[in-house]
Homo-oligomer: 163 residues x 6
Amino acid sequence: MTAPRLSHLDAAGHAVMVDVSAKPDTRREAVAHGHIKMRAETLGLILAAAMPKGDVLATARIAGIMAAKKTAELIPLCHPLAISSVKVELAPDRAGEGIDITARVRTTGPTGVEMEALTAASVAALTLYDMCKAVERDMEIGQIHVIHKSGGASGTYDRASGS
Amino acid sequence: MTAPRLSHLDAAGHAVMVDVSAKPDTRREAVAHGHIKMRAETLGLILAAAMPKGDVLATARIAGIMAAKKTAELIPLCHPLAISSVKVELAPDRAGEGIDITARVRTTGPTGVEMEALTAASVAALTLYDMCKAVERDMEIGQIHVIHKSGGASGTYDRASGS
Amino acid sequence: MTAPRLSHLDAAGHAVMVDVSAKPDTRREAVAHGHIKMRAETLGLILAAAMPKGDVLATARIAGIMAAKKTAELIPLCHPLAISSVKVELAPDRAGEGIDITARVRTTGPTGVEMEALTAASVAALTLYDMCKAVERDMEIGQIHVIHKSGGASGTYDRASGS
Amino acid sequence: MTAPRLSHLDAAGHAVMVDVSAKPDTRREAVAHGHIKMRAETLGLILAAAMPKGDVLATARIAGIMAAKKTAELIPLCHPLAISSVKVELAPDRAGEGIDITARVRTTGPTGVEMEALTAASVAALTLYDMCKAVERDMEIGQIHVIHKSGGASGTYDRASGS
Amino acid sequence: MTAPRLSHLDAAGHAVMVDVSAKPDTRREAVAHGHIKMRAETLGLILAAAMPKGDVLATARIAGIMAAKKTAELIPLCHPLAISSVKVELAPDRAGEGIDITARVRTTGPTGVEMEALTAASVAALTLYDMCKAVERDMEIGQIHVIHKSGGASGTYDRASGS
Amino acid sequence: MTAPRLSHLDAAGHAVMVDVSAKPDTRREAVAHGHIKMRAETLGLILAAAMPKGDVLATARIAGIMAAKKTAELIPLCHPLAISSVKVELAPDRAGEGIDITARVRTTGPTGVEMEALTAASVAALTLYDMCKAVERDMEIGQIHVIHKSGGASGTYDRASGS
């Protein structure tokens, strides 16, 4: 049995974009979560600004969608992918302490789209930070993880709840 | 006294890139923190791969530096900035549960560089996720916040320790 | 019968990149038209500059071709596409009042290339504006529309002549 | 007296990015207009979709703002500029036949921002086209011109009304 | 028999992105070589800096990989391609006068990847230049050529050795 | 006396974007040279294609100019710069064995523009390769070096002739 090793390094430890030319195209999906924590007053301002015609949540959704398309430009060893769909959802968390972000990405291709979903969630969170930073500097972005992944040889992954 | 409001929305609630044309150029710095949590075995692989000539940490550092330069492309209402320097540092955290990321950005200009520092930290974390995802899917990126900011009219900010 | 609705908004009115993962790859083509109106003297300068070795029309053609490849970066909800060919043609209009622009784009994929053709025509026109603006400020870009589209489930479209 | 010539071509007719290194930084502004024409029913759908929380106009505004920042990437001979502000406004036209677009851009620098304003207006129009194309294919983008420009050696320009 | 002509120009001599929509997807590979010449002392500094944990070669490798993904943005008439893998190798040359660069790129698609391999080699060389320019200004980049190409209708090409 | 070291690595050997925030803005210029070698017949085709209205040399010039603006995106540790001018000149070499490329870039800023000039020359050469590769595969890009640099604390550099 061989030990696990980092797939993005060759035998000499050098970074490589791993070869996916022998992998078939399959339909794939990944869903990532993220969160931005803020004071109740800051959250109140966002929700008020999201009232009729306010652009604050729309701006973050669009930034997340556009970032998903830029993933291979940002992450050095990611493969460029023809993304089939992206959806970014934002909602206040249950505790009233911030915004939950869910990014869902689909493709038909030889590699998965976890990185695209994680990038969309991260950039949506950064965009919320940017729009609220004049009001609060203590916000914190966190809980960025994959919650679901399907398609491809490695099968379906669902993050254990509570983890 | 006026209520605080989101500076990136105009009176109608529409997204705008706020006007900084009347603000003088000053020297500014921002430092952001980020973290990626992983199993001890995954962390061990990274640290082993970072051994002589291994590219894993270098790849994340460079991805963070290059992402800082892309901030205004990613965050819709960010101003383009002539960045003077970027440094991204990675180190195992004290608990042995992941990697701490520190991104320091400087500029001379009319706006601050928090978003550049936060973006560098986020993309460095995403790059580590990408390189380790074949080994562990449960990693989580978090603790992304500003720890220091100086320069400009709003003065120096240092995040309260422990927050 | 359901009312028509905007396909790029979900039921809540939120922007989404629509899911094309179930659509088959087919060969597709779109042709867009654009126009830039200018004074006869400005047009004369362009045509003189386009004389042997002058780069003015070549610059606009190349800008249009390169912009077609950037469409998914510019238009938030556009899908990235593997473009098979782009051709941008420029010719003085019949009235001698400007330049007619025709952009033809082909792909084999799950979505059409109207946006790529329209973007190529628009950026070719903007490039002509840029190169002539020191001579005339009153130029106007217009008549940007799709004149032909084929491939895909929605069939062939040809714009009614005279419209 | 010398004849006017195209400033972006050298004496041999070759494209060059003109030298602005001797020009001082001044505060500059440009405002551009654009228009997209559509059927009354399509316009009705947009306005309905822009109702509380609908993202359609927000998406076009943000696309226009982000495109302003990409101008020097799109227009081959444009200088990169540190944009100070961008605002994109969208409103139904008086005749009820489409949407009027106004893009206002400011900078402090050695060259003007007409191209940034025109690019913002064009890409906002293209984004509206993209979001409505499933409903109407006959839309036409037009009336893209500069309506105001100030700052720099060439003085203030205001487009003659009615032109 | 027709004379050879440049495939990227149409009959009028105008630049076009040639139509590949009728070409089938096949697995393709290209390998390019490049070289940067420098003084023995500069080479010594690089090799010392590449010692345990030094990022100098890693930075050039990653820059080359990321540049391969940007080829269609840089080369006006190149087709966008879904790259399957990229590997950039750097080694001191036999004469001790510089660094040899080898870039290997694979795809499954309708066109070859020579330009991607050549771009990766060129940008890796430019990155080495950048990192060493404070020490030596006389470095020279050269020997950039294709050494192997396979896949597609035109068959396998191997550069004659010694050429 | 300290030994020379690579300025883009910190004391630990990690890549950093060096801090230029204390350096004043000065007017700077750099000129780079490049060359592409080809068979006489290929050169003849280019020169014929460059005849009245042929776009081949214009495409390479424009690609070089646009690449200069992308330098900080391509070279990981390069600072973003407000380029004041770019000029790319192409001419058959004296021996009739290829094309000589000269790229001249100017800025007013805290760092030099050698990398911008070298990048412009490299991408112009790659673009010529792309347009001629269907005719000749054995072309070789070389002789990429800085021939002149002025401005900034390090003073004027002129490459020794014949080197």
